[in-house]
């Protein structure tokens, strides 16, 4: 297992967001997290990346407990990429500097090598001509692709994607989806939180439905999205269909 969460609990005051959540992700597997707004998808991803501290349970990366307080969180984060819903690019840096910051400062690569690798990626995603631009001069879809590249150049073991398409206009979603499908083809292990059931169906090997702080139901996309066992899952999907997002 690349990632294994066992009985994870996370509370904000009296609000129990994750309540004994258990989820495993195998090598080269793509897992989509679905669930109502506020069900804890983002919180789970932040906990896995140690940006938030869990209140109980264990999270393991390649079998090693990363929630042990004796573990250095910086070294864990170096192995996990996280892409945010709102891109969070650094506005005072060019696209190229955004991408090469971690390779140069964290992974101690030479500036030339980091730049070359960054340009290769930008070429692949069709943004080579934007390498010198500042983020505010880019469209949402372009910013999101840069944010994904920024996480990828660190060669993470695991890539976490938090609603990477929800801030985008429909016509911009395609570029980001294509990129994620390509990554899947290369065997990248990913966990993605999403509201787009179509997206989940296309890229996920497994869909996990979060409800009341747990994974209520999980399985292949056709089963969970097409023929769910749990009544709560059916309700959730019915609401989604009403909203026209399936």
């Amino acid at each position: 297992m690349v990632l294994s969460c066992t009985d994870v609990r996370k509370t904000f005051g009296a609000n129990v967001v994750l309540d004994g959540l258990t989820l495993d992700v195998g090598e080269h597997e793509v897992v989509a997290l679905i669930g109502a707004s506020g069900s804890g998808k983002s919180t789970l991803l932040r906990c896995v990346n140690l940006l938030a501290e869990i209140d109980d349970g264990v999270i393991r990366l390649d079998g090693a407990d990363i929630t042990d307080p004796r573990v250095d969180p910086d070294s864990v984060r170096q192995k996990i990429g996280l892409v945010f819903q709102s891109y969070n690019l650094f506005p005072h840096m060019t696209v190229l500097d955004n991408i090469t910051l971690a390779p140069v400062r964290v992974h101690k690569r030479s500036a030339a090598a980091a730049r070359e690798q960054a340009m290769e990626w930008l070429n692949r995603v069709g943004l080579a001509d934007k390498s010198g631009s500042y983020p505010d001069k880019l469209s949402g879809g372009q910013q999101q692709r840069v944010a994904i590249v920024r996480a990828l150049v660190n060669s993470p073991r695991l890539l976490l994607l938090d609603e990477v398409t929800s801030a985008l206009d429909p016509e911009l979603v395609g570029e980001v989806l294509t990129m994620i499908r390509d990554l899947k083809g290369e065997g990248m292990t990913m966990v993605l939180a999403t509201h787009e059931m179509g997206f989940a169906r296309q890229v996920a090997d497994r869909v996990a439905f979060l409800d009341k702080g747990r994974v209520l139901e999980q399985g292949p996309p056709e089963q969970v999205l097409g023929d769910p066992v749990e009544a709560r899952t059916r309700q959730f999907l019915a609401r989604i269909i009403e909203a026209g997002r399936l």
């Binding site: 932040r46 990346n49 940006l51 969180p73 910086d74 070294s75 984060r77 170096q78 996990i80 990429g81 996280l82 945010f84 709102s86 969070n88 690019l89 650094f90 506005p91 005072h92 910051l101 971690a102 400062r105 964290v106 992974h107 505010d136 920024r150 996480a151 660190n154």
Partner: protein, 283 residues
């Protein structure tokens, strides 16, 4: 790439352009006319006022101005050197204090507490008291290796302004959205690296206008070290006033201070304007 054929503006657009040009010419003419009227009125009012001759004699005597200019300029050189040193030192101190105040964790509690106490007390303490305490009080201790009064006075300015600048820096640091730190940490950057490469560059850019404003204020207050004795521009002017029984040397020193401040004020305005434009450009 093939050269694109020259674009021909439509008649409507050409009409707009010529209208805007006519309007611009008319605005310039109007501005010139109203300036001339206001200027003449002011001139007549000031020179026609009773006592203007006496004012001119005791404040604007060209002979005395010429006589004392070299000495005042020499004093000003001290102000300039103090200004450069004090501004750099106060900015560095302010930044350091602001960063210390962001440190989390129990180990840093005393550091945080001291930094907070410092910014609270020195923002309330009048600069003159700090200068007197440093320049007259410290030499009174007769410690070995006590620096000169000039250095002590400079230190007083640095300590006082450091407290103000620390608060400006802190406001800048706090204005950087937490998601920026989350993004930096998620890439594996340490807390220090996140501060240095992500938070501080954005914070400093945002508070550049108020920082520069405080630097302009510091530039003026550097003249207060004359209270401690060193012969700066103000002290030189004071000597001139005492010897000639005429206030022209003060006016000369004042004009020189304004001239000295002009570039920095200009830069401040420009940076502020640019920052405002940036803000508007961003979403």
């Amino acid at each position: 790439m093939s050269p694109t054929p020259p674009y021909r503006l439509s008649d409507v657009q050409q009409d707009r352009i010529s209208f805007r040009r006519r309007k611009a010419v008319r605005s310039v003419l109007l501005a010139a006319l109203s300036t001339a009227i206001v200027g003449t009125l002011l001139g007549v009012l000031v020179t026609g006022a009773p006592g203007w001759d006496r004012v001119r004699q005791s404040f604007f005597d060209p002979r005395i101005a010429r006589e004392w200019l070299p000495e005042i300029l020499e004093g000003l050189w001290l102000n300039v050197r103090m200004l450069v040193f004090c501004a750099i030192a106060a900015l560095a101190l302010g930044l350091l204090i602001a960063v210390l105040r962001t440190l989390r964790g129990p180990v840093f509690f005393p550091v945080r507490a001291l930094a907070t106490l410092y910014t609270y007390s020195f923002r309330g303490l009048p600069l003159i008291i700090v200068i007197y305490l440093m320049a007259f009080g410290v030499p009174g201790l007769r410690l070995q290796g006590t620096p000169s009064v000039t250095v002590l006075g400079g230190a007083a300015i640095v300590i006082t302004y450091g407290a103000y600048l620390a608060e400006v820096f802190r406001a800048g640091i706090e204005s950087v959205h937490p998601s920026q730190i989350a993004a930096a940490r998620s890439l594996g950057l340490t807390y220090r690296q996140s501060m240095r490469f992500v938070v501080l560059p954005q914070a400093v850019r945002r508070v550049a206008p108020p920082l520069l404003n405080d630097t302009v204020a510091l530039q003026k207050d550097v003249g207060l070290i004359s209270l401690a004795g060193p012969i700066d521009a103000i002290r030189a002017a004071q000597i001139g006033v005492a010897q000639t029984a005429n206030f022209t040397p003060y006016v000369v020193a004042g004009v020189l201070f304004v001239l000295l401040a002009l570039p920095l004020i200009g830069i401040t305005d420009w940076v502020t304007l640019r920052a405002a434009r940036r803000q508007n450009a961003g979403t």
